[in-house]
């Protein structure tokens, strides 16, 4: 964490990919929870779409390694 907040740290493609996967998964969970609580609503559909897109793009970024994002 100290390194992440250093003067010269830059996020890499792999780290961006991992971040998008985590964010996407969280949005998918939110979509699932909203659907369970309130049925299929627009907010849940938008969350699921954004979450799914985030996970997919994140997965494709993982192989790009340490190149700066």
């Amino acid at each position: 964490m100290r390194r992440v907040f250093s003067e010269d740290f830059t996020v890499s493609k792999r780290q961006l990919g991992a971040g998008l996967i985590v964010l996407g998964a969280a949005l998918l969970l939110v979509a699932g929870a909203l659907t369970a609580l309130d049925g299929v609503r627009l907010t849940a559909i938008f969350s699921a779409a954004a979450g799914g897109a985030g996970v997919l793009v994140g997965l494709t970024l993982l192989p790009l390694g340490d190149r700066p994002a």
Binding site: D8, T60, L64
Partner: protein
Amino acid sequence: MAMGETASARHRSPWAVAGWLLTGLAFALLAGHLLIYVHYAVGLMRFPFDYDQGEGFELVDTILFSQGEWPYRSSETYPFYASNYPPLFHVILVPFAWAFGPAYWYGRLVSFVGTLLTAGTIGLIVWREGRHRGVAVLAGLAFLASNYVYHVGPLFRQHMTMVLFETLAVAVLAQAPSIRDTARRRRALAGGMALLLAAGYTKQHAVATCAAVFVFLFLRNPRRAAIWGAGFALVAGGLFLWIDWATGGAWWTNIIAANVNDYYLAQFTGLLRQWLRLHGALIAVAALFALYELYAARLSLYTIWWVMAVASTVLAGKWGAGDSYFATAIAATCVLSGLAAARALRGGAPAALKRAAGIVVPLVYVVYALSVVKMPTEGRFFGWLSDALGLESTHGSRYAFYDAAGWTQGYATIGHVPTQTDVNNGWRIVDRVRTAGGPVMSEEAAFSLLADKDVITNPTQLKNLYENGLYDPSALVEALRAHDFAAVIFRAQFYPPPVLDAVYEAYYPAEAIPMNGFSYEIWRPGPPAEQRGAFAASLAALLPGETRTVALALPFDSALAWRRHAMRLWEAAGGKPRPAGEGNECLASDFSQGERAISIEVCPAGAETLLALSRTR
């Protein structure tokens, strides 16, 4: 010289000739769009009334700020007015209000000039990053050619000033992290943050650009993003809390809580499809450039801005939103497609690819320019031009205006230049307000402002507040029932249902004046509450064969019009009113509802009118 061709090759290559012709065509078409835009803007600046719904209330906000008052206030007390927009655009206009009083031209001028500056900033970004003058100019012109920018650009509305501040902020911040000199970098970051703050305090929709900026800063250096993000949140939040404190909480209620509106998915998907169809040529290039940066290069602020701006268009499905919600996405698309075009033409690409780009780039702008065609279809020049091009008005007889966009839910049906008849009819409505003996509740502010009377209500804001459970309309309903307003002027009846019901009960439509494609209904006070009650009670209690008479404190013609309105839920029978009574001085009409049939005879009685109700079945 054609795009991508060297001087030595220009006379030999057929590619160069084709590229030259296409480039010339792209410039000519986009310059034509600019001329149409200027024609429209000048036409609107000369029109002294509301052109688009809600413009007048932005003028009222400006007037209130010029008098040192907040427009964020309770809507439950006279004049039942509050604003739902942040203050900066209106504050910028305050010197104009001091100098010229209430007028629409300066708000439209500032907004229009803002779009020109936005186009210039887009061009500057493309020039700075791509070093291609021709593409830089085309990218700026492409922004002004968009049907959506054309619509909202010269309106007295804050949206395009927000887009200007957003674009300026992106221009300043995109290169800030790369500045090596610490003092210069900090100055650039501080300047960019100030512009971002200005965008947010012009309109809330700038939140997408704020998110894009901080994602970009985070990717470049999380530490810097955290420090500047904390500073930004402190200033923006502090300002927010101060205004909320100064307005006794009305700021939060009107700006945030009241903005949770119904969402219409069909409105968003319709507008999205339309946006893709109109701007598809540029969007395809921008999307390819975004993928290139994501996988093969480094993400710039421009790409992140484009992604966030496109994502934020989902809000266009809200009630009251529309095509203007795509304006930031259009600015970002013009930047990104311009960068892609400039790099394809000047980068280190193979010669064959560059030569192809010399054709493809101008072709993209030609296709785009042909997709966004819109123009007036009457007048000496535009009438001739539209005839020559075979274009007819897409608005029928309502407006003489062709728009390739067609129509979808949420797309503003504007773009035409108002006529002298519209102006004359607007002044007729102002005369009605001037001669009315008291304040007038008008759905548009212009008539009251120009008649030097109080502006009563901001209808859409009352509706927003009411639908969020934040507005008790009982004081306004009581004022309407007591005829506190000398007239009510409707255009679209965007009031909360209880307010509309009170108008229907206590007023009647006395006159309709057409202006700018809409029918402005002037409703006058009906008879006093006890006489309305007596009429309703007689109507309900009347037995077959029985006749009852009710006196109305209205002159004969007004009583006739009121009776038509009062019987609106009954079916009119027997055609036109027939002469009746002694000397045929009365008029009788028949009405039926289910099994019941009633005849009403209207007779003059001095300053009053007598209504004789007879149940015939």
